[in-house]
Symmetry: C2
Subunit: 327 residues, 2 copies
């Protein structure tokens, strides 16, 4: 670990080292994937994930309405379940917030009421009933969401299963998360239809649960795109010890999104997955399109893990997505 420039990945690698050597026979998979896996009953594993949503980091009170903030907080965790091919079982919400946000304004309810409204609506739709949590006062809003799901034993989609020769896929379209953010920041203008679509995707991302379940037994590796394709694909390559080539022209972009936004934008919550060249990968699952965007290669020493092919040009694709502690 470099003391000055330690990014999130380096810190997590360090925590993995510190936590190594723990005896825990029922933890099938610990730190390093979208969810941890716990063995419970025969034939089943629990997939568990926790995700922060922090004011001024994951959302802004001035830009995001509380219903959307609650929805997004849970969607982050559900998206991790989707990436494991798991089905939601229960959710837990730890919410710290300033006292003023708990106070009802007239008949419309408090900020906190609306936060729960967004959270619970998605919990109902996805079968992730709120089972507990914690509540505390805090100078800023910090939500930590834990989601538990189930997956048939040995069927979870891991980040580590990609092999050279596998094809690389994404669900849906990329770039709407970042495009929506830039519209909120006043940094980007697109036509009204694209703007509405991007903002809706940004405020109400849809976790790809049904798609993850359908990919069990098909995908060789999977993860969700929360921090941007360039960053997340580098992580998948790291866990699978492989390299990847992405073809720019194949990338499905959200309406109005640039190539840059599709490559590096976070908050898309689509699935990134690999499958053997011979696998039967459907072109769409549950109404969400599936697109081949490149392939997995052998890792070569001294070469970047991810290469972008754009026209005839090949360049190393640096991880320019979201990484905490790296700014």
């Amino acid at each position: 670990m470099q003391a000055q420039a330690a990014g999130e990945l380096a810190l997590i690698a360090k925590i993995r080292t510190l936590a190594a050597g723990q005896t825990a026979p029922r933890i099938t998979r610990g730190i390093g994937d979208d969810c941890a896996l716990l063995r419970t009953k025969p034939g089943e594993e629990l997939a568990i994930t926790t995700d922060f949503s922090i004011e001024d980091r994951h959302f802004r009170l001035g830009w995001h309405n509380p219903v959307a903030i609650g929805h997004r907080a849970l969607a982050r965790g559900l998206s991790d379940l989707a990436a494991m091919g798991a089905t939601p079982l229960a959710s837990f919400l730890s919410l710290a917030l300033p006292k003023r946000l708990t106070v009802a304004k007239g008949k419309t309810g408090s900020w906190m009421d609306h936060f729960y409204e967004g959270f619970l609506a998605l919990a109902r739709t996805e079968g992730a009933a709120l089972a507990g949590g914690d509540l505390s006062e805090c100078a800023l809003v910090v939500a930590d969401v834990m989601v538990i799901g189930t997956v048939p034993r040995g069927k979870a989609l891991l980040r580590s299963g990609a092999r050279p020769g596998d094809k690389l896929y994404v669900t849906g379209a990329l770039g709407a998360g970042l495009l929506g953010l830039r519209i909120l920041e006043g940094r980007r203008k697109v036509d009204m239809e694209a703007e509405n679509a991007a903002l809706h995707r940004h405020f109400y991302p849809q976790p790809r649960i049904a798609q993850g379940v359908a990919l069990r037994g098909v995908a060789s590796a999977a993860m969700d795109l929360s921090d941007g394709l360039s960053t997340d694909l580098a992580r998948l390559c790291e866990e699978s010890k492989v390299a990847a080539v992405v073809e720019a022209r194949k990338l499905p972009r959200a309406p109005g999104a640039t190539l840059d936004e599709a490559l590096h934008g976070g908050d898309d919550y689509e699935l990134l997955f690999t499958a053997p060249a011979k696998a039967r990968v459907p072109r769409s699952i549950g109404g969400v399109m599936v697109t081949e965007i490149g392939e997995i290669r052998r890792r070569a020493k001294g070469r970047a893990p991810v290469t972008l092919v754009d026209g005839g040009k090949k360049t190393a694709l640096a991880a320019h997505g979201w990484e905490h502690f790296s700014q």
Copy 2:
């Protein structure tokens, strides 16, 4: 819910209402106890709890060393498992902190390294291996700890099982948590032996896992004392729909602690439990003493749920322990 004076209890009651009517057959018990219970394999339930530890609310960087902060963050969750009679299975840690605390100072490691040191040492001792979590940058330190344990099906100790005529008990001694805090604040002076003992208990509380397990089948209700006896006993009475009488002279006080500190002090992490008058309650479990401190009565309309008998005087014991959003 009163808009202006809504304390933590009122807010949680409101969340329970909002979350009511969720369909979740595998959630045996949701919001309202020390842990949620999830049915997994036949004969077993999972006990799950999440607990915040927030800078300037649960600890101060100037008063608490990072090893103690890490220990306490996990101890809070383990204490909730103990209160259910559950055995630890795994832990999850979501940690948000300022970047400077991730930077190593010379050879001694960073603040974050020492936080994990305290957390992981307790995790090893108690069999709660760290299985995952989240990491984020934040202006202040916010840790959210999730602990998962197992308990034989139907054997979990609930808050709701106390019946009129049951005797009331606590493990260990009370008041050291608050006495330790007041010593740190410079508000209390006691002799050096009592000071060392109180500070040690304050920094390194011991979750009563073995005691909780031993109380399965003996206790009729149980919870852990995290917010102070007066507050927590009122919660137990509320969940069991009973009243309670506490005898001041019977209260086991930590060395140097006043009656007030034993009654209202938080952070003791002892177990509070009830058992039928005929039950065989051991005088000590695993070297920790067990003391009868009062009994459970029928609830009477218009009367306070908890009565304190001190000498010949009976007074209503108001909940003066820790409650968020009430200051």
